[in-house]
């Protein structure tokens, strides 16, 4: 879910791309094969929810369809997504997206709606092979719909570009964890937002510039620590990370499936009790999990390596692997000195709502307090959300 300002900025970027003759392909689930889209001459862009949109879904979706799907549907009912050349839904991730994709095609038959079906299982090569074939199938559909065949050279360039972008973001995430004063979460989250809007050369250049500014302030020792932490996070294994983090101020992390980092940052920025150094880490699907995706190996079958890269990211609540996610969370809390965890839960979102009790329990087991934030795409009751967070901070402060 996103704020209107983010949407406006995003639309400006997309408008500029469209004016320059580019075509933008929207995606909803945070792990699309960016490189494949680009190889077909399309720019991948996250389709965002808009909090100002009023319900217009009632003729097609019941109220128990998740908040995200209802919001996107309402946006589409009121007008189209003029800057998008098409939308890719996900299959086999959650039932709402699964079913609403079908409903969308029926109600808006003129729209270009595609689906990429993901494996749920933790089945190694078997899962990778399956996803590779699905990506290939999507690639064929993209060629049919948009008339641009898959370009090997464009694919390799795209892989390089995404690698560079994620590389910097990963380093910045690590800096934020180790040395919060060097980069604000607000800034970091906006940079992630740019990557989600469209991963372009411009974005990469800006990121590289930002990294230079930050890197200058690090001595050799600190740089090593940043690298080490980044590797550990990417490998989902913090056991090799041996540094202790000293901090005089409160360190909070946030976790959840359906909120963008910049939106979360916007929600908490003005809350009494939050300082510039408080929010040190997000484990959000639209933040950490998409940023810490391993790079695509360009020496190999493009579809297979795309699949391998996607499945190499941290698993989502829509996938197998809950015990691993729980252990990793505990590790993060313990080794990275997290003192409080905010658990975001989207309204009528099965993956979020099934997973959040396990996350809260995990934090409890390592002695860290949590607060659950019930959210929806309209960000309604913002005052109450702020109230919860403020109370939460007051609770930690006192105990």
């Amino acid at each position: 879910m996103s704020f209107p300002e983010v949407i406006e900025q995003s639309n400006q970027v997309l408008q500029a791309l469209v004016d320059a003759g580019e075509r933008v392909l929207g995606y909803i689930y945070p792990h699309p094969p960016h490189e494949i889209f680009i190889a077909h001459g399309l720019k991948p862009s996250l389709v965002r929810t808009n909090p100002t949109v009023v319900g217009a879904y009632e003729a097609s979706l019941q109220t128990f369809s998740c908040s995200l799907t209802r919001n996107l549907f309402s946006q589409r009912t009121s007008s189209s997504f003029p800057l998008l050349a098409g939308i890719v839904f996900s299959g086999n991730t959650c039932d709402a997206l699964q079913n609403v994709g079908d409903v969308w095609r029926k109600r808006f038959p003129e729209d270009k709606v595609l689906r990429l079906t993901y494996p749920v299982g933790d089945a190694g090569e078997s899962s990778i092979d399956f996803l590779a074939m699905e990506i290939k199938s999507l690639s064929d559909d993209l060629e049919t719909l948009y008339g641009v065949p898959f370009s090997e050279s464009a694919f390799k360039q795209a892989a390089q570009l995404l690698h560079e972008i994620r590389d910097v973001l990963q380093l910045l995430y690590s800096v934020r964890l180790l040395y919060p004063p060097l980069i604000s979460y607000h800034t970091l989250s906006n940079l992630v937002g740019e990557y989600l809007t469209a991963p372009t050369e411009d974005v990469s250049e800006r990121l590289k510039g930002r990294w230079m500014e930050v890197a200058e302030k690090l001595d050799t020792n600190q740089t090593n620590k940043v690298d080490q932490l980044r590797e550990s996070l990417l490998n989902k294994d913090l056991s090799g990370f041996d540094s202790t983090i000293e901090s005089t101020s409160l360190r909070i992390a946030v976790i959840g499936g359906m909120i963008e980092p910049s939106t979360f940052s916007g929600l908490v920025d003005d809350i009494h009790g939050i300082t510039d150094s408080t929010l040190v880490f997000d484990m959000l699907s639209f933040g950490f999990k998409t940023v810490f995706t391993p790079p695509v190996n360009i020496d190999g079958d493009p579809y297979k390596e795309s699949a391998r890269s996607i499945l190499g990211a941290h698993s989502e609540p829509t996938q197998e692997g809950l015990p691993k996610r729980v252990e990793f969370l505990k590790d993060v809390i313990a080794r990275l000195s997290i003192q409080g965890l905010i658990v975001c839960e989207q309204s009528f979102c099965d993956p979020d709502e099934f997973e959040s009790p396990s996350l809260e329990k995990a934090a409890e087991e390592v002695g860290v307090p949590t607060v659950k934030l019930p959210l929806d795409s309209e960000l309604s009751d913002r005052a109450r959300i702020e109230g919860r967070i403020q109370t939460f901070l007051e609770t930690i402060d006192a105990n």
Partner: protein, 262 residues
């Protein structure tokens, strides 16, 4: 420059605005409650004015903490603190034994586990839906054609409450209408309504962990049938402060004092 010696808590709720002024030993110099109405800002100004004139103190002598849903409009507050913390501190000041606090207001309900230092250890809120809040009872009182003050005593007359199973206020309302149509007695229906509400609050409490002794605050605490059924569900006695609507403001005032000590 006058030394600050008095604590003021201003609790701006969606229905009522409350204020309390206390001195350094914790004794209450004045308190005031009024309807928030359409302008929270003027309600706050009015309450503050009242507190100062009754106590005879000036603003300069006081540290002011704002709390409640509308805390951010309390311009004159030195700081804002959420009502969860304030209710916890307020109840702790009145009765340090209380470990679980249930606050049922007009529009939301909260359950707070109070730690040894008087601050919340954990909390749960029901703030998205009107069932389980004062609003639920208002709707049912209207359907049963009794005043809010009479609803509780009516319910207490019943020996066999009806089952009202809907958790949604709107559905429950039509369930109640159905019951009236079927000829069930108003007392039994009223009792069912209170039982349903107590059950909802009971569930909310279990998510935080029921720990005795239990305190209940908020406007609905004044309702004897609600207290009866809640006590039954939680299998525990309930402690109600004399002025259950003022505990938030009181807690805020104590926090103001605490701040001054630092």
């Amino acid at each position: 420059m006058t030394e600050k010696a008095f604590g003021i808590g201003l609790d701006v709720g969606s229905t009522t605005t409350k204020g309390v002024i206390i001195e350094s030993d914790g004794s209450i110099l004045a308190s005031h409650l009024q309807s928030t109405g359409a302008s929270a800002a003027s309600a706050v100004a009015h309450v503050l004015g009242n507190l100062l004139s009754i106590s005879g103190k000036t603003r300069d002598e006081c540290r002011i903490i704002g709390t409640g849903y509308g805390r951010n409009i309390v311009d004159m507050a030195h700081k804002t603190v959420t009502e969860i913390t304030c209710h916890s501190v307020g109840v702790n000041a009145l009765n340090p034994d209380i470990r679980l606090l249930i606050d049922v207001g007009g529009q939301d309900s909260k359950v707070i586990r109070i730690g040894a230092n008087g601050r919340p250890e954990d909390f749960e809120l029901n703030d998205k839906c009107s069932a389980g809040t004062g609003r639920f009872l208002e709707v049912m009182a209207r359907v049963l054609e009794v005043s809010m003050d009479d609803l509780g005593p009516l319910a207490l007359k019943s020996k066999s409450p009806c089952t009202i199973s809907s958790t949604c206020t709107v559905f429950a309302e039509s369930e109640v209408i159905g019951r009236i149509g079927s000829g069930d007695s108003p007392a039994d229906i009223a009792a069912g309504v209170h039982q349903s509400m107590a059950s909802k609050i009971g569930s909310l409490s279990k998510r935080v962990g029921v720990a005795t002794p239990i305190g209940v605050t908020g406007g609905v605490a004044l309702n004897p049938a609600f207290r009866y059924y809640l006590s039954d569900i939680l299998k525990a006695d309930l402690w109600i402060p004399d002025m259950p609507q003022l505990t938030g403001a009181l807690g805020a005032a104590f926090i103001a004092l605490k701040d001054m000590e630092r």
